[in-house]
Symmetry: C2
Subunit: 433 residues, 2 copies
Amino acid sequence: MFNSDSLGINNEGNLTIGNLDTVLLAKKYQTPLYVMDEDMIRHICRIYKNSIDEFYKGHGLILYASKALSFKHIYSVAKEEGLGVDVVSGGELYTALSAGFPADKIYFHGNNKTYDEIKMAVDSGVGHLVVDNDYELTLIDEICQKENKTMDILFRIKPGIDAHTHDFVKTGQIDAKFGVALENGEAEAIIKHAMQIKTVRVTGVHCHIGSQIFDIEPFKLAASVMLNFMADIKDKYGLELKELNLGGGYGIIYTDGDDPIEYHEYIKAVSQVVYETCEERNFPVPFILMEPGRSLVGASGITLYTVGDVKDIKDIKKYVFVDGGMGDNPRFILYESKYNALIANKATKDRSEVVTIAGKCCESGDVLAKDIAIQQAEPGDTLAVLATGAYNYSMASNYNRIPRPPIVMVSNGQDKLVVKRETYADLMKNDLD
Amino acid sequence: MFNSDSLGINNEGNLTIGNLDTVLLAKKYQTPLYVMDEDMIRHICRIYKNSIDEFYKGHGLILYASKALSFKHIYSVAKEEGLGVDVVSGGELYTALSAGFPADKIYFHGNNKTYDEIKMAVDSGVGHLVVDNDYELTLIDEICQKENKTMDILFRIKPGIDAHTHDFVKTGQIDAKFGVALENGEAEAIIKHAMQIKTVRVTGVHCHIGSQIFDIEPFKLAASVMLNFMADIKDKYGLELKELNLGGGYGIIYTDGDDPIEYHEYIKAVSQVVYETCEERNFPVPFILMEPGRSLVGASGITLYTVGDVKDIKDIKKYVFVDGGMGDNPRFILYESKYNALIANKATKDRSEVVTIAGKCCESGDVLAKDIAIQQAEPGDTLAVLATGAYNYSMASNYNRIPRPPIVMVSNGQDKLVVKRETYADLMKNDLD
């Protein structure tokens, strides 16, 4: 019925998350409100971590891809669960460090890191930079020379596999802004270049083949392609790359049609390819990195709204208006992403109406779900949109100068505010006369 | 050559805005950076205001549609130029009031104003609420009764005209989240209802037929439809609506293909329809309101970036990476909006390269312009994207935890910081442990 075990229905007929009544949470914290099940996030962390232990004999590390959802407390959770993190900006790095996250377990990504960001990474002792291009390599060298430091780096490689939700292609991705391609020799050339630079040590390679993927094959293929490349580099240049970062992209359930692979099944299947390929190529099994983001936090989060007007345009369409919208969840207007939603205070009732859920933004595209079956909505109802844990808060804007909602974490039957609601004064904090 | 008279090229061959060197501005304030020509904004304000004087004998008011770009200083400009403003949220209202904007010249819009927002509007003496639906009407009545106040209201009407950039349809728009439709009797019904409510006085009606419109005909048609409706209401119910709010939607030049109407020509043409229709229907010429947003600020703004890596994927594509992207300008990823751009420090050079300008966000769709001809780009160049004054800062996010750029206003050859750059600490201001 729901996309996650974290959700249920209590005796009052209200939707629960982590056994807490969402209607009471909406009253306590007001709406719109993000609620996350911390226990579920930790549970998924452990599935990933245990799989590394089981299928790679512990020779690997799960990096939380923090672009999915970045705020101080999430880094404490990742730290406590023994994960590393990947960051993609100075802002994410700053937040991770502020939470006391160990710098040496941070991997810094991005296609266009600025000089200041690279300097910040070098200064703060970030463990690895995942280098995108040759220009970045020269910046790193320049900064490391100035500061008399060295840096461990991986290279972001385009393996020629482009995977989408239900499909993938074997060649593709070369026309992408990220990384260097295998097929035209860019990847080999940049590694050759890096081998001549004394301030960097090339520890490995990274690939990321797509997002919200439900198929195991492209991941297996990517592992094989990357390992063969690593073996080629060793054969050709004598350089033994010790780390293979397989990126993220594991799908979650947004709506009933979604059928993601179990994460440990994915890791098991890929590990077989890794061991087989290493044996074939007589290459030592590298340290394995993975970067789940959405799959760690996406299904663990919901957004609660209060219903305002229900606009029934006779014989045309029924709109249910909520007190948030594209500001707190821009994924429909960006990608027409589909979500499951329900009236939290009528969770046991039939989904008897097909409606369009629209936000309060002054923008006609401000919609959260189109033609979705939900319970009969009335003003004052609490509406829950499910699986909003990833790429909602992180992509939120203040469009129409609407404050961003707070985040409440639920754990062991207790709720805890981890990000406060923005105030109107917050919106003006940088405005001068 | 440029989309506005505000832009030029100086003796150093650098792009100027309001006669100031953009390369020096980029150095002084760092990048990414929004720069606005305040003198140009004021000039356009006066074109609109003078047109009201000339074509409506001063019997009207220009409302700045602040959703296009809302921050404290812009309300001071609007106030000094004698404009009213429209706001669409408590946050915009708060900002306008903080700037000392007179509440009685504020019109409050929105399809789903919350109880708190309506209360805030009533308490602060906002001049008019533009009511979207019947539920809102009951909320207003409830609040006004409690506080023993009355409120002037307009109704948002769907006139059955749906205009797009180069096209419009005469029936349409009924399936839209905003307002009440004429064609199915909703509009008439809500006015009848409001006439029975003692706490509100219906002063007029409002319509908005689209955005970035280049054609004068749909505006003329809308005026005619709305006035005939007002005359019908008078004939049927004896209620003389005194205000006609014709909304916004006037196009600006983003790229060379755009050819907007001159704003005074539009106002002149529509005023003829207004006077003719009023005479035909024996209806007194109403007070005319218009709500330009984009056309007041859009072409007056540019965004300056610094070029990072230039990624030449041989025989495939050349990417120019900049230090901003979808975070500060989400209009390409949202709508594939087209922009003009150039290398500010090579403004006199030939546009010899066709490139894709991509941002630094960890998102493959993070692009600012696809296949655009610009001067040959190198790391460290200053890249200017033009006509970013509207719906850039207002829609900006912190995706990837990238701070939002500052806004610098240029006036009389002087630059002035009006919105400070966000800091990493700002991003964490609401994060709890």
